[in-house]
Assembly symmetry: C2
């Protein structure tokens, strides 16, 4: 057989070998890895749901409080938003499962046998044609040696057979190449579909969060307003001295030292320096604190407050040692 | 003690109880759930990386082929993009871990003791002051009964003490309310930070995919062009009949039936009807197929192709029974 025919034959067989021994096992492995990926998606979705259900419960507790309804509302909305994100992510998961993994799995199973058969049939057909051509060429050679009167006709036959053989190997190679390319395109287009589903998810998720984050930020900042620090209805009108006295003036009240807790772990941090972290400047977190250190009013009788005049009370004494001060070095901001 | 003082006392104690018995255990649980959530993130990130590494290897195989370099390039780029997305997702994960869970965990540990102490000290201080006031009121009552000359001064003292007590309970309640509110705000602002980190991730991810998906789509469609179906260099010039004959015309070649495989599982589907699926119209997937069914050229000698004239060859016979036809009912598109 002519060397170029043989070259076509070997390169066509190599394509079938590559599909059988590289592409299909790789696709099979991809289906396995894809199922792991899918399980990781489901696990994330579930963990997010459980986490944000817990956030929602805390938000509902805040809604019951007298102080933090707005904050409770924000927490509940965050939980709702997460649920929406989760259900949008479900579209990605379904696409990945139904449109990629299932097709990939089905195709790779069918394809192993199909490519084996194709390769085998190509091999048989090639040998048939090659043997046919060889035989005709031998016959022609014998006829030409014998100066047979039909040699000219035979030569035309051999030429025709040879041309058919050329067309056969070249078209068969083209067909095998198409098969190879189809498989890579299948994979690329399937993952293009996945990428596009992700793109749409990211777009929707971004749109969903964009306005809400701004709204939550505004509401959260509004809730810092000192006027909302407690329910005003509980104060003032209820209070009235049982022993009326014109001397109970606001100036006097300023002198009263209420019981004040030591700085707690949930206290805001000192105002940030102008150079802020990656999240930009924080809103000053001090607005809820009294504008100045309260002045302690000495008790009427020393006997009821032993040591009150000689040593600072425990809460003043503890303040400098506050172990929680750095626990509040946090904040957030929008770029 | 006056009922309104008692009411303040009980409602302040209830706030401490709620922080101790509701908020802090809920926060502790949230840290636990958050760590699960974090693990799920890591697992997803890892599964995605393994999956797209496998895609990359297939892409590199395609780059080695003679037919699918563009498709290989697309697959490798998809894998790169996934790596970028993963590293962006890492920012979300780090924020969640460092800025939320660690703070929440630290605060909830410190807070249990702090709130217990605060409640206990408030209780003690309230009782001191209440006892002090009761005692002064008894004394005043005795002095007024005795018409003591210092009764007027004592009355002023009692009034002052009473006002101080009022200010104490009201300010203490305000302080407890602030503590409660601080904790809910902490939670809300921390999750606002998380939401904002997600928002930025979604924005970046969308931006990253948007142009690439379009480019991949174009490249993938361009690779359907029949001119790229095989390497033209391998055909044509190599072929030349060893027995030159002017009768080998293109018309003749058209009559040659190359070996043609049966429709494979990776074959494109029939052109879609105008009403397309959720992903819109598909590009016609037929362009790689020969424009018409090839005509089969009868073999020169029947002895080499037994039964060829009496029955259709196996590949024609198999075609109608193709079990893979529906495996290609897929496609993708951009909205």
């Amino acid at each position: 057989m002519a060397p170029e025919m043989d070259q076509f034959y070997r390169s066509t067989m190599a394509i079938y070998k590559s599909i059988l021994e590289q592409f299909n096992p790789a696709l099979e492995n991809l289906v396995y890895l894809g199922n792991n990926y899918l399980r990781a998606f489901h696990a994330l979705s579930e963990a997010a749901e459980v986490y944000f259900n817990a956030i929602q419960k805390i938000g509902e507790q805040a809604l019951q409080s007298s102080t933090s309804q707005i904050l409770g509302e924000i927490l509940v909305q965050m939980s709702d938003t997460q649920r929406h994100l989760n259900s949008d992510l479900e579209v990605v998961v379904q696409t990945f499962h139904g449109d990629l993994l299932q097709h990939m799995e089905k195709n790779t199973k069918l394809d192993m046998q199909f490519i084996k058969d194709s390769r085998q049939h190509y091999e048989m057909e090639y040998r048939h044609r090659a043997a046919n051509l060889e035989k005709s060429m031998s016959q022609l050679w014998r006829m030409e040696r014998k100066r047979d009167k039909n040699a000219r006709e035979m030569k035309e036959s051999v030429n025709r057979l040879h041309a058919q053989m050329q067309a056969f190997v070249s078209e068969s190679q083209r067909a095998a190449e198409l098969e190879e390319k189809r498989r890579y395109r299948f994979l690329a287009e399937k993952h293009l579909l996945l990428s596009n589903t992700f793109l749409q998810f990211f777009g929707r998720a971004r749109g969903m969060l964009q306005n809400r984050v701004l709204l939550w930020k505004e509401q959260s900042e509004a809730s810092r307003s000192p006027s909302r620090a407690h329910s005003p209805g509980l104060l003032g009108p209820v209070l009235g001295p049982p022993y009326p006295s014109g001397r109970l003036t606001p100036t006097r009240l300023d002198m009263v030292r209420p019981w004040a807790p030591p700085p707690p772990p949930f206290a805001p941090p000192p105002p940030p320096a102008p150079s802020a972290g990656p999240w930009g400047l924080r809103p000053a977190a001090w607005s809820l604190l009294p504008p100045r250190a309260p002045v302690y009013a000495a008790p009427l009788r020393r006997s009821f407050r032993p040591g009150a005049a000689s040593a600072p009370p425990w809460w003043l004494g503890r303040r400098p040692e506050n172990p929680y001060a750095e626990a509040w070095d946090w904040g957030w901001g929008l770029e």
